[in-house]
Amino acid sequence: MKQIDVIIDETGNPTIHTSGFTGGECAKETAALEKALGAKTKDTKTPEFFKATVGRITQ
């Protein structure tokens, strides 16, 4: 399952967390969300991101 969590603190600042995406798919999926929120939000890369990146390099 693909999941996107937007956590918004008490001052209104959002942070985006994702799971279930691989490689650059995640950035593509959250781009519109970041734009809608009007600012570059903080994001954290999950282990899936790095796994997929290593996979592509070694092929």
Partner: protein, 153 residues
């Protein structure tokens, strides 16, 4: 006294703001030209972080708006939040008189700068965008006060 405060929020989605306002006990009133405030500018507030006049907003805009937020059940003359187009800024900027009964606005919306409105607006904008991308969405309030908007598919 006239303490017109500038809120660090640029609203580009009125529907999302309306939903956030509703959840906080306010209503969005569209297409109105004035909102309730002290009524005249006395230039008696020197807070450079909050005072609209010190953040580049001309006094001619005070009390004028394109839309406004009104507390549900507000009494006659109770101060309101104007949503005003400010030259050089994107969308609408919330402006309100924070003095006198303007304190009620801050009490209802998390304090100075209306952080609860900013939080609710960000949640509604996020939920709307995630739905647009085909996610099913759930908004929950965490015990630490943060809002979580979860999109799943």
């Amino acid at each position: 006294m006239s303490h017109v405060a500038d809120v660090d929020l640029h609203i580009t989605d009125l529907d999302a703001l309306g939903a956030a306002a509703e959840a906080a006990g306010f209503e969005l009133v569209r297409d109105v030209k004035t909102y309730n405030w002290f009524g005249s500018f006395l230039n008696d507030w020197n807070d450079t972080d909050r005072a609209a006049i010190h953040r580049g907003i001309p006094e001619e805009l005070f009390g004028t708006c394109d839309h406004k937020l009104r507390r549900k059940g507000a009494s006659e003359g109770e101060y309101e939040i104007g949503l005003t187009r400010v030259p050089g800024r994107e969308g609408y900027t919330p402006l309100y008189d924070s003095y006198g009964n303007g304190k009620q606005l801050e009490r209802a919306l998390g304090g100075a700068g209306l952080p609860a409105l900013k939080q609710g607006y960000a949640a509604q904008v996020s939920a709307k965008q995630l739905r647009k991308q085909g996610y099913s969405v759930r908004i929950t309030q965490q015990t630490d006060g943060k809002l979580r908007v979860r999109g799943s598919r």
